[in-house]
């Protein structure tokens, strides 16, 4: 008969208790996550608590990223800076010429809006980007402006004063989440400017938007796409056109006209 010593019997006790603690933790985390996934109020409470607690760290990371860019700029070589400067000079002349044309159109637009009692005075709340794609897994931006700064859910997010990039979906005291127009499944009403046809843009993710319009409408690559409504914002320019003789509809795919990696601040339309 084999004799079982008491020390041998309890040899696995610490292992068992360790496993028990681990199971308890997994259970607690899983219950929290499931509760948040299925119950709106529980989710809002958990999200608000975590976002408020971790916002300072996110703000600090943004500060460090900005400083890092400034330091790296010092080490850029002279030739590449020269090339960049020349390109920017040429682009500046180009844009100055465009502005001259746009000034008259803008003046006319303002006069027409005054005639129609729709003054074009928009004010914005400015926010700095805390997190953006590809750090965020979906087409979403986190801003450092929140309800304490007057941000409200549904506000439109505008870049460079004229480009619509998304709208506010969730607001916290010091932060807010912006769902980009390219968020998968997000629908945006738009107008193909040259063809004068309205359509619905469907977000595809990764900054891409798809529009389906009748195949008989003539669209060229580079045609402007703007938002519907009294005050138009730029959404992008037609990039890839997929037309098929067998399909009554043609598919237009375009990208947001802003580089999210270079974008620092966003205006939220009041």
């Amino acid at each position: 008969m084999t004799k079982i010593y008491p020390q041998n019997r309890d040899r696995f006790a610490p292992e068992r208790s360790k496993r028990k603690i681990k199971k308890t933790w997994i259970f607690i985390f899983a219950v929290l996550a499931l509760l948040g996934a299925t119950n709106g109020e529980a989710r809002n409470f958990a999200v608000k608590t975590i976002v408020i607690a971790t916002s300072p760290v996110f703000n600090f990371s943004r500060f460090v990223a900005e400083k890092k860019d400034n330091v790296f700029f010092l080490f850029k070589n002279k030739q590449s800076l020269d090339e960049e400067l020349n390109y920017l000079r040429e682009r500046n002349i180009e844009l100055e010429n465009e502005i001259i044309l746009l000034e008259s159109a803008k003046k006319e637009n303002e006069e027409l809006k005054i005639l129609l009692s729709r003054p074009d005075k928009k004010s914005y709340i400015l926010g700095s980007i805390v997190s953006r794609p590809p750090q965020s897994p979906y087409d979403m931006i986190v801003l450092d402006a929140g309800s304490d700064n007057g941000v409200k859910q549904g506000m439109r997010a505008i870049a460079y004063g004229s480009v619509l990039i998304g709208h506010v979906v969730e607001v916290f005291p010091y932060a807010s989440k912006i769902k980009l127009v390219s968020y998968p499944g997000e629908e945006t009403n738009l107008i193909m400017e040259n063809a004068k046809i309205s359509a619905i843009g469907l977000g595809l993710g990764g900054g891409n938007i798809e529009v389906k319009i009748p195949g008989s409408v003539k669209i060229n690559s580079g045609d402007k796409i703007i938002t519907e409504g009294a005050f138009h914002h730029l959404l992008g320019t037609a990039d890839k056109i997929e037309a098929d003789a067998l399909n009554p509809f043609q598919k237009i795919i375009f990208r947001m006209p802003v580089n999210l990696n270079e974008l620092q601040k966003i205006g939220l339309e009041k």
Binding site: K22, W25, I26, F29, A30, L32, A33, L34, G36, A37, T38, G40, R43, N44, A46, V47, I50, V51, T54, V57, F58, S61, A65, S131, P134, Q135, S136, P137, Y138, M140, V142, V169, E170, K177, K179, P184
Partner: protein, 86 residues
């Protein structure tokens, strides 16, 4: 312990400055390498809070990253107990 702290700092830096798939890959690797890598689940909870939408959808809603990390944590510890390599 020292390696674990260095790893934690590294993963948190990735979370704030690198594309999300780098962080996800690093967390999976560290869950396999370390025992009870709870930091991964905590990070997933933060990611869920920051990037989930109010809509109730599993794929883009709250809980996707947290539940996935817990599943990997459990599967990895189960596999380790069976194969006794790590």
């Amino acid at each position: 312990m020292r390696e674990r702290i260095i790893t934690d700092v590294f993963v948190f830096c990735l979370f704030f400055w690198a594309p999300w798939w780098w962080t996800a890959a690093a967390v999976i690797v560290f869950i396999i390498l370390f025992e009870n890598y709870w930091e991964g689940a905590a990070l997933a909870l933060i990611a869920d809070s920051f990037y989930s939408l109010p809509e109730i959808s599993f794929w883009r809603g709250f809980g996707f990253f947290t539940l996935s990390s817990l599943l990997i944590l459990y599967a990895s510890s189960f596999a380790k107990s069976k194969i006794k390599i790590l």
